[in-house]
């Protein structure tokens, strides 16, 4: 009896394992390719500029000092501006390098005023691998020279 039971159980196990093996053989394993998101190039730049407001200080002959027989506070004509008013800063937050060209165009009505940039072009590297606050950045400064007529007040001399 015990033998018969043991044989029966063994055969049952055998059939079960065989059936399971057959199921395993029939079960297909599938795989599918899911394309990842390719960002492409996204350009993002910050541009900061000062007031670009300048003052033309005409030449000064100074004040006569009778004690020394000389003129005090003699000054040549010059251009001045507030600190930072003459700067243009470009910051690159893109995932690609950018070339920056900075140009100044004189107003036809004020050709005696000359604008000169210390940098007319520069390249900013990609922002990949940098933090937002440490993004590649560069600054150009605009200097004015030449003369301005005495009746000019808050006029646009260029852009």
């Amino acid at each position: 009896m015990k033998k018969i039971l043991a044989i029966t159980l063994t055969l049952a196990m055998l059939f079960t394992m065989t059936a399971m093996a057959e199921e395993s053989k029939q079960k297909q394993v599938t795989a599918s390719y899911n394309e990842g998101i390719n960002s492409g190039t996204i350009y993002s730049i910050d541009i900061t500029w000062g007031s670009l407001e300048y003052t033309y200080n005409a030449a000064s002959t100074g004040t006569w000092d009778p004690e020394t027989h000389t003129y005090k506070n003699v000054a040549e004509a010059n251009w001045t501006c507030e600190n930072g008013a003459d700067t243009i800063t470009v910051t690159n937050h893109s995932n690609a390098a950018v070339n920056v060209n900075v140009t100044y165009t004189t107003n036809d009505n004020y050709t005696s005023v000359i604008g000169t940039l210390d940098k007319s072009s520069f390249e900013l590297a990609t922002a990949e691998g940098t933090s937002f606050s440490a993004a590649p950045s560069n600054t150009a400064k605009l200097e004015l020279s030449g003369t301005l007529s005495s009746d000019a007040n808050n006029v646009t001399v260029g852009e």
Partner: protein
């Protein structure tokens, strides 16, 4: 007699040829570069804009009486001649201190111009100008964005603008 007649005819033809060349040279040399003027004061709001999602609120720091703008854009632009529309991506993030107006220019021709795009807004479509629909044909062009900035409060145009080279595909 006949020889004289022929001589006169040749001289006449030569004269006509010289005059024609002169007229052609004059016509070519006197061709003026068209001037594309951006508005001096901020125009009406652009209607084809959407809010930028997840946009930061904090404004960029700008120097006194200066400006600080952020621009996000794609350099690839597509024009549909049948619909007279331009597909593009251009955004003026919230942290900008100025409104912007965007022009699209190809070979000194104004192809499209937006209304005002205020900070926090983006644009994905703009209408072609009537002239652009006439002069463009299918193919690829080199163009540029010209971005003009306007003070949010006074509406005055900033003395600075930005030009960005773009690739334009016309369909």
């Amino acid at each position: 007699m006949k020889k004289d007649k022929n001589k006169r005819l040749i001289l006449l033809l030569l004269l006509i040829a010289i005059v024609s060349v002169c007229i052609a040279v004059w016509a070519l040399c006197s061709k003026e570069t068209p001037v594309i003027l951006a508005p001096d004061r901020v125009p009406e709001q652009e209607s084809n804009v959407e809010k930028i999602e997840d946009d930061a609120d904090k404004k960029n720091e700008a120097p006194e009486n200066g400006g600080a703008v952020s621009l996000t854009f794609s350099k690839d632009v597509s024009i549909n001649l049948a619909d007279k529309t331009v597909d593009l991506y251009f955004a003026n993030p919230q942290r900008s201190t100025h409104d912007v107006v965007l022009q699209i220019i190809i070979r000194d021709n104004l192809i499209a111009q937006s209304g005002t795009i205020s900070p926090g807004n983006k644009m994905s479509e703009v209408e072609l100008t009537d002239n652009a629909a006439k002069i463009l044909s299918k193919g690829s062009y080199d163009g540029k964005f010209v971005v003009h900035y306007y003070d949010i409060e006074s509406g005055e145009k900033a003395v600075l603008n930005t030009e960005i080279p773009i690739n334009v595909k016309v369909n």
